[in-house]
Assembly symmetry: C2
Homo-oligomer: 155 residues x 2
């Protein structure tokens, strides 16, 4: 189970911890240092109404694309921690907000997900965000367990 | 061996045939119908001097990105023909011309290639283009042979 970053500005745990680490790792100039974990995670939470108000006819905002990439890279990092396998994340998005993400280890695809309406990428709550990430990690760990040799095949 | 489209405007064969089919399949409005195969393939051939003259400081041209995608989709189509496995191609390019392409079947990565200086994507000759495509296909077929069950794992 993932405990969300608590309201008192506490530290995120579980998958949300990995996501925060991912966001801070990409923050070359330390602009985010003064922000608590919760502030970093808040752009990932959108109500249904907020999502509906985002136009999907427009090109994808670079910020949104970065958010999607961070989410899946955090999933990849969690998979690495859980399995010891080295992963690579590949994100293929077209300008209309459709696409696909693949995370692989060795020759094994540990996650493959179709994306649509990426402009509206977001989760109802922090709990949902954490639960979605952990569900991806759990599924990926099963695939690595099933095909250990393929995940280690670096040919 | 790949026979290049012959100078008399003959039909392309082998991998080049698959690449031409790919280009014509993406030509929704039939603009390319009147062009011989060779004309479709000629943008894939660049001399070393021509490549050097292309600036790599600029964003990737949509035409160049489309050419790279067509090349790997033709590789994927050839792999499908050779193995019967259904493939998906994922192309992740950043604005600086670096990236990665992955082709997978089931849970098996049959091709993974790092891309750089994509602005300069091209081959010295049609023969080189055909040989490169076929080399990718040959390698991918070996991986499918080695991990048949993984290539069929649709979980």
């Amino acid at each position: 189970m993932t405990a969300p970053a608590d309201a008192a500005g506490g530290k995120a745990e579980g998958f949300l911890r990995d996501l925060v680490d991912q966001l801070r790792a990409g923050d070359t100039y330390g602009n985010l240092d003064r922000l608590p974990d919760e502030a970093l995670l808040s752009p990932f939470v959108l109500t249904r109404e907020q999502r509906r108000q985002i136009a999907i006819a427009c090109d994808i905002d670079a910020l949104v694309e970065g958010r999607v990439r961070s989410f899946y890279q955090a999933v990849a990092a969690s998979i690495e921690k859980a399995t010891g396998a080295v992963t690579t994340t590949v994100l293929d998005l077209n300008h209309e907000g459709f696409g696909r993400v693949v995370i692989f280890a060795g020759r094994l695809v540990v996650l493959s997900d179709v994306l649509r309406d990426v402009q509206r990428f977001g989760f109802n709550t922090l709990e949902d965000l954490g639960a979605r990430g952990e569900a991806f990690v759990t599924a990926a760990v099963k695939h690595v367990d099933q095909w250990k040799e393929v995940a280690r095949d670096d040919s």
